[in-house]
């Protein structure tokens, strides 16, 4: 069971959180201007890397705050936790590099 360091509450069990999937997918500014495939890309297409994944979590049973997590999808190691709006830290999150 993961131990996730909430940026506010500190380390808590995974069960207190909800996973919001891949992070850093901004909502398109003008969806009407997008083609159907472009819109589908925003809606559905995901990196799903085998390696470091930057994803969003919310401390749903605690302070109810959303934040970003960089986590390895094989070792489950959490490499970084950072707030919404902040850029991902350098963790080698390029999936090509970190295929194991």
């Amino acid at each position: 069971m993961l131990l996730i360091p909430c940026p506010w509450c500190g380390p808590r069990d995974e069960t207190e959180f909800s996973c919001g999937g891949e992070g850093h997918i901004p909502r398109p500014a003008d969806p009407a201007a997008l083609t159907d495939p472009e819109w589908a890309d925003y809606l559905f297409m995901r990196k799903n890397p085998k390696g470091v994944h930057t994803e969003r979590w919310v401390h749903s049973q605690g302070c109810r705050r959303w934040f970003n997590v960089a986590r390895h999808t094989v070792s489950h190691e959490i490499l970084a936790v950072y707030k919404m709006g902040e850029p991902p830290p350098e963790t080698g999150a390029d999936s090509k590099q970190n295929r194991t």
Binding site: W8, T15, E16
Partner: protein, 204 residues
């Protein structure tokens, strides 16, 4: 305010007052319902000194800014809920005046004052095995080195979300739980406490 006799606490139907004993004796775990507290959900910018000052002015309380801490002042206690959220707990029927004072003080700021007094029931848990009972359903580290008097945390106890507040060294705890989950949590606590001996006391 309406007549108090019209009110029913979340656990009134369990007949806890009738079960209450004056002296818990050898019981390892002591439970009570602590009804009627005023509760206000307060939102505002923790970085804004103006907000903090206005709150202190209004209710005589410096809001706790560190996660998991509490602060008391005036007649109220504030529990940290999030980086911009607190639960202000007042004595019974104190929420109206406190909310008015807060609203007046914060009217020009981006803040929110919401009376949630009936949202949560409060269950008092004490006795020498109080911590053991909590550990059965709560994954927080409650060791005195980590979680002592004055600490609070939102977490889960079994399958209910709970705002936990340790009120003394004994340790004694107040468990704030959403009203509709209160009966479930009470029954769960009774079951978990069975191993240590249980006494119900009056918490009014």
């Amino acid at each position: 305010m309406a007549e108090a006799y019209l009110r029913l606490s979340a656990l009134a139907h369990l007949g806890l007052e009738a079960r209450a004993v004056a002296d818990p004796g050898e019981a390892g775990v002591v439970l009570s319902e602590r009804p009627g507290r005023g509760q206000i959900d307060l939102r505002g910018e923790a970085e804004d000194a103006g907000f903090l000052g206005a709150v202190e002015q209004a209710i005589g309380l410096a809001l706790p800014l560190e996660a998991g801490t509490t602060a008391s002042g005036g007649a109220a206690t504030a529990l940290w809920l999030g980086p911009n959220e607190w639960l202000v707990v007042t004595p019974p029927d104190g929420q109206g005046a406190a909310a008015e004072a807060l609203r007046a003080a914060l009217k020009d700021l981006w803040a929110a004052v919401t009376d949630v007094s009936d949202s949560r029931a409060v269950i008092g848990l004490s006795g020498r095995h109080a911590r053991d009972v909590l550990m059965k359903g709560c994954s927080l580290d409650l060791h005195p080195r980590v979680f002592g008097p004055g600490r609070s945390a939102q977490s889960a106890v079994a399958r209910a979300l709970v705002l936990l507040h340790q009120t003394d060294e004994a340790p004694s705890y107040d468990l704030y739980v959403h009203r509709s989950f209160a009966e479930y949590l009470w029954l769960w606590l009774e079951d978990a406490a069975a191993e240590y001996g249980l006494a119900v006391v009056s918490g009014g």
